[in-house]
């Protein structure tokens, strides 16, 4: 099921939580909504589900305008952040719920409902736990029950709000892999919300990076990581270093010196240079244009050494990674050049 979000705006008491957001979700893809807390991810997900109604704009399921449909009519599988399992029902009853509340005409017989619920229980690898109550399950198991319950209604789209948010790191990793498997096996169009970039990069076919009620960038994990379209995305996804520069004559300048990096733009004046700390090459000092700085601090992180440099009297330090056995010490002068970089106009 293709889903199209068309210039949707959502206001809570006159304050816009979503600001004219447009997004195309392709049938069968696993797409992540990624952004800091408060950026509007949950709101967008709830609008797609029909749990909130947009202040303006439309939402299409395939060719059909779903904007005015209720949540029941939209037939979506929604997995809530805190699972929202029905505490007075067993695992099996939780999973059967969606089928058992159907109107008589479309409701499968009792035995069939049970068979399908048990099948789903098997899919989420919880066979044998059907008689348990939610309180008797671990966080990871509850998450699986919530997913099975959402899948039971054969939803047109699966929506998950921070599905692994409340779990510890080990369980998160396992469930991540497992969600990918379930997605590949069932082929549902799946949208999940996360504030964890590693999770999004690892799991999703495409990422939607959001900030302050707007979509900043949409793309595959590689596109978003390698070609961030602005300072926000560059610094939000992965590690980054930045420093103020000037761009003139197709060159990047720091403190009146060209640093040997060509600029894609002719002259934009004041700008900000972004690069990844691990994506730099060291240059012999004095041999051509480069960025040179004095080591202000250094610490070892696993197999690399992260050093903070003061470049050209700039109070903001930049970080670069060196091999851990590099002899860089306090006050050592280091010259380097980013291998990949981007400059964005200041502002």
């Amino acid at each position: 099921m293709d889903i199209r979000v068309d210039t949707v705006r959502k206001e809570f008491s006159h304050y816009p939580a979503l600001n004219d957001v447009s997004l195309d979700i392709r049938s069968g893809e696993l797409i992540a909504l990624l952004g800091p807390s408060g950026s509007g991810k949950t709101t967008l997900l709830r609008l797609i589900a029909g749990l909130e109604m947009p202040t303006a704009g439309r939402i299409y399921f395939g060719d059909e305008d779903a904007s005015s449909k209720t949540v029941q009519e939209r037939n979506v599988g929604f997995v809530f952040q805190a699972y929202a399992l029905f505490r007075n029902m067993t695992v099996l009853d939780n999973i059967s719920f969606g089928l058992s509340v159907r109107p008589r005409a479309t409701r499968p017989p009792k035995a069939e409902i049970r068979r399908r619920a048990l099948e789903l229980l098997d899919l989420v690898q919880l066979t044998g736990l059907e008689k348990r109550y939610p309180q008797q399950l671990s966080g990871g198991q509850r998450q699986r029950v919530a997913l099975a319950r959402a899948l039971a209604i054969e939803p047109r789209v699966l929506l998950l709000d921070e599905p692994f948010g409340a779990l510890d790191a080990q369980v998160r990793k396992e469930l991540r892999k497992w969600l990918r498997e379930i997605h590949d096996r069932t082929g549902h169009t799946t949208v999940f919300v996360t504030h964890d970039q590693e999770e999004a990069l690892e799991l999703a076919d495409r990422l939607v990076v959001m900030s302050q009620g707007k979509i900043e960038q949409v793309g595959t994990p590689d596109e978003v990581y390698d070609k961030p379209n602005g300072p926000f995305v560059f610094s939000f996804i992965g590690e980054s270093s930045s420093m103020p520069v000037t761009v003139e004559n197709h060159e990047i300048w720091v403190g009146g010196r060209a640093i040997g990096l060509p600029a894609p733009h002719d002259a934009i004046g004041e700008a900000v240079l972004f690069f990844r700390p691990h994506d730099v090459e060291l240059v012999e000092d004095g041999s051509g244009a480069a960025l040179a700085g004095v080591v202000a601090a250094s610490r070892r992180v696993g197999g690399t050494r992260r050093v903070e440099l003061e470049v050209g009297g700039n109070p903001n330090r930049v970080e670069i990674d060196l091999p851990f056995d590099h002899p860089a010490g306090e006050k050592t002068r280091i010259a380097f050049r980013p291998k990949r970089w981007r400059v964005y106009p200041k502002g």
Binding site: T70, G98, V101, I153
Partner: protein, 297 residues
């Protein structure tokens, strides 16, 4: 090395060291305070209860049971049960509806509604009764209309029911509001997203989530409905055998110096109170976490 001692175990009870106690009274001060509290409770709560039963049985069990063969007392018991049987179910519906509105929706005037729900608690029951007399009594503008259709409200059973509903309204709503607020909307949203209708969601998800709190509220509401004196006294007209409930009957018997009968009927209300107390305690003990967390009656 794996050291089992340092494994964190939430079940392990760490005895608080004496010097770490937040309160610093000496033992004898503590014991004295507890003794005063117990003595006070015995004086104002237990002693009257014991007195009710001793007075009721002063002339023996035969006289006690004979009190209930009096037709007018029987009628008072019947009317009390009838009023409770109407008022409690209605307040159950109103209370759930009001709590639902307040807890699950945001709307203009919500805090005003919350205050209004508490009004019967803050206003003297006598005043509540007076309001109904003013509304439906002989001096009111509505009176000719009621008379034309031959509807009697004041000095009749409908007035007693109305006054009782008014006075006991807050019990269920106030028990449910914090509970429902605490539980939030997500269970309901989950049910709706799975295709359930509003009624299915209410019956299969909301109601089971609040059932113990609801029962608790009903219990208190019922105890008050059967015991209400002030408001009912104003609207009843004290017509013996017609418009007297048990509390009113007790007053009449007492004023007629018929102490055995008065305390016999009173002992029934006292029993009701004891039964209510027992159920209430059981509920609090068994399902304390499924009752409203912030406030206890």
């Amino acid at each position: 090395m794996f050291e089992p001692e340092v494994v964190y175990d939430s079940r392990r009870v760490i005895p608080p060291a004496d010097h770490a106690r937040p309160t610093t009274e000496r033992p004898w001060v503590r014991r004295l305070l507890i003794a005063i509290a117990i003595a006070f409770m015995a004086l104002v709560l237990v002693l009257p209860l014991v007195l009710v039963f001793t007075e009721a049985f002063r002339k023996g069990a035969d006289a006690y049971f004979a009190s209930f063969s009096d037709r007018q007392s029987q009628q008072a018991i019947y009317l009390t049960l009838l009023v409770a049987a109407i008022a409690v179910p209605l307040n159950l519906v109103f209370g759930v509806a009001a709590a639902w509105c307040v807890a699950k929706y945001e709307f203009w005037g919500k805090s005003f509604l919350t205050t209004l729900i508490d009004l019967p608690f803050s206003v003297s029951p006598v005043v509540s009764g007076m309001v109904y007399v003013l509304l439906f009594g002989a001096q009111s503008a509505l009176h000719p209309l009621l008379k034309a259709y031959n509807i009697e409200i004041i000095f009749a059973v409908p007035g007693i029911v109305l006054a009782t509903i008014f006075v006991t309204f807050p019990f269920i709503a106030r028990e449910l509001i914090p509970l429902m607020q605490d539980q939030g909307n997500t269970d309901e949203e989950a049910a709706l997203s799975l295709g359930a209708t509003g009624w299915q969601t209410f019956a299969r998800v909301t109601l089971p989530n609040i059932k113990w709190g609801l029962l608790y509220g009903v219990l208190l509401c019922n105890a008050r409905a059967m015991g209400e004196f002030g408001a009912v006294s104003v609207v009843s007209g004290h017509i013996r055998g017609k418009t007297t409930t048990m509390p009113l009957d007790i007053e009449i018997l007492y004023n007629e110096y018929n102490f055995t009968a008065a305390f016999a009927v009173a002992s029934l209300l006292a029993l009701l109170a004891l039964v209510t107390l027992v159920f209430k305690t059981i509920l609090e003990f068994r399902f304390g976490d499924e009752l409203a967390g912030t406030r206890r009656h």
